[in-house]
Amino acid sequence: MVQAAIAAPVLIAIMLAAGGRRLPRPVVDAVATGTILAVTVLLGIVLATALRHPVVTWLGGWPPRGGVSVGIPLVADPMSAGLALLVAVLTLAALVFSWRYLVEVQAIYHALMLLFTAAMCAFVLTGDLFDAFVFFELMSVIAYVLTGYKAEEPRTVHGALNFGVINSLGAYVTLMGIGLLYARTGQLNFAAMGARLPGQDHRLVTVAFALVCTGFLVKAATAPFHFWLADAHAVAPTPVCVLFSGVMVELGVYAIARTYWATFAGAVPGARPALAFLGVVTALLGGVMCVLQRHVKRLLAYSTVSHVGVILLGVAALDHDSLAGAAYYLLGHAGVKSALFIAAGTLLNRFETLDERELHGRGLRLRASGAVFLVGGLGLAGVPPSGLWAGKAVMDEAAQRAGWWWAAPVGVVASALTAGAVLRVWLRVFRGVGPSGGGTAEHEDSETGPRMSRLPWTMLTPGVILAGGAVLLGLIPGLLHGVSHAAGLFVDHDGYVSAVLSGGAWHAASAPLHPWTAAGLVGGAAGVVLAAVVAVLGLHQPVPRILRPVIDRLRAAHSGHVGEYAAWLTAGVALFGLLLFTA
């Protein structure tokens, strides 16, 4: 079942790549969408099974003997199966959106999307670290190709190249860490490595953790590894951005969490403060950069940086409740951000530009897209009962218990800045508020070919459904309990090891979560109010003069220069290692 969900899209992708040219476009669309629909159903069944008891499948029938394994397991616990399902659902939305949106693409685009889905699903489901590296590279390479799909545009190829170089460099550093772990334990399997780590030289284990995490931190766009993200998101085709921002970036955080709990659990005491520090810096830096953008896709890209920082902060607390909150937050963010990208795509389709000032007042008649921007902005601000709000409330409560009083304000500031920027776009573009003009009138290709007289339903419905779903996430009965159960299994290191290596029992001690607290509601209200303030201020006042030098420095650092990004990456590895050792 699990293998089929990964193998089916790969096989169909190969067939489409080989023979898709001769098929008419509607057939290609139908085949690709049908395949992903089937994968979604399969993964839904896998998730339902995993919620009762996690499923461990040894590929090719190579189970471990006496605690030693040479085979590769696929481990479907509720968290990994749920994430794989999220990947499939978002791909479905992106493909439906592409039907009419990307008119000029060939079957090779669909083949790439299918392979991308398969690689991401395999990456979350695998129970083997080296296998994870291979799928990490597979999904990265496909991501570079998809980013550079419109290879005629100069900005596109440049963005894709930066993305490719930095991500590959991160992946190789990860591989060095995997090598060190293998040298010590003689195993590549998360569980088997974890079983042999206690008693090893803690300095070596810490260095290995720092190296293994590097590639995942690059993927998660954690500062100072985040530079590639905005370059890639601004130029990638919109349906691809949906997958990038909605789930691919978050998989980096998932991989850190998985490696930590399955393998390192407790062996790296510095992980907690080090990851928390990176999370806070990322959340704030992403928020500030987000407010400064005028290109709508770049703005959304920095907002993703900021929110992934918040998710990383939630994971960094390294406890059950906070992880459950982070997972909930991730789910809410995926829906909202995908919907916002889809709405931005409709703008690009109508007006062939994404410059916010250029678009001033032009979206008055695009009611559905405007509604998505408003709802999305409020969702990012953390309006109850959105997924981001519920996740945030649970994370804050856990942080409070751990003595991290600063975690809640950081989250509020991040949501206020990012949501404020989105609401500013809504006010300016869809309501025509504020002074007009000042656009640089940079023309972009609309990605769609001929302009349409009306937006077709396939370009509106996915966004509306995703945004609506994400905002109502806090009301879905049982979901919070399910997430809590998933997090309970996820943090149970001993259960994971015994379930994978000897088929032992793996039970979660899940506590119920309560987002509907006074503190949670106050946090949500504060986020919404501050976001509104940021939005209104942003309309009229560009940047206070005192902050100019700082802002100019920040802008200059995000230069698009690949060598500088590589230098930042190296500095980031050194900083992360230092934090792990000193904290």
């Binding site: 570079y144 290879a151 190249l161 490719g164 460099l169 591989l175 293998y182 698009g560 590589a566 190296t570």
Partner: protein, 113 residues
């Protein structure tokens, strides 16, 4: 066991990154990326090395003979395949950059906003 191979791997990694940071040519950047990946080959092979061991091919030696670790060799092979894919793709992108922007000097490519 000698520490030299590990130091060599670290050195190659740093040399590659230094090349990427100071490069004035995108093709050179991509080649430097391959250099950093070579560090992983050296590291993996060093990890699997057994003194006096032969290649792990059992057609002409007894299965009980002393061999180097085949797992890291399989990993290195996979790694080389990954490298070939990534390098080919990135070089193609560098060619496109040269065609569309008329330069492959990262210093002149700067503004992406």
């Amino acid at each position: 066991m000698s520490h030299l191979p590990y130091l060599a791997a670290g050195w190659i990694l740093l040399a590659g990154i230094f090349g990427m940071v100071t490069s004035r040519n995108l093709v050179h950047v991509v080649v430097c990326l391959s250099v950093t990946q070579s560090a992983t080959y050296v590291l993996l092979l060093a990890i699997g090395y057994r003194k006096g061991g032969t290649a792990p091919v059992f057609s002409d030696i007894k299965p009980t003979g002393k061999v180097v670790d085949p797992v890291v060799q399989a990993m290195t092979l996979t790694d080389i395949v990954v490298n070939a894919t990534a390098t080919a793709l990135l070089l193609a992108l560098a060619v496109q950059v040269a065609k569309r922007r008329g330069t492959i000097d990262p210093d002149e490519l700067r503004p992406l906003e």
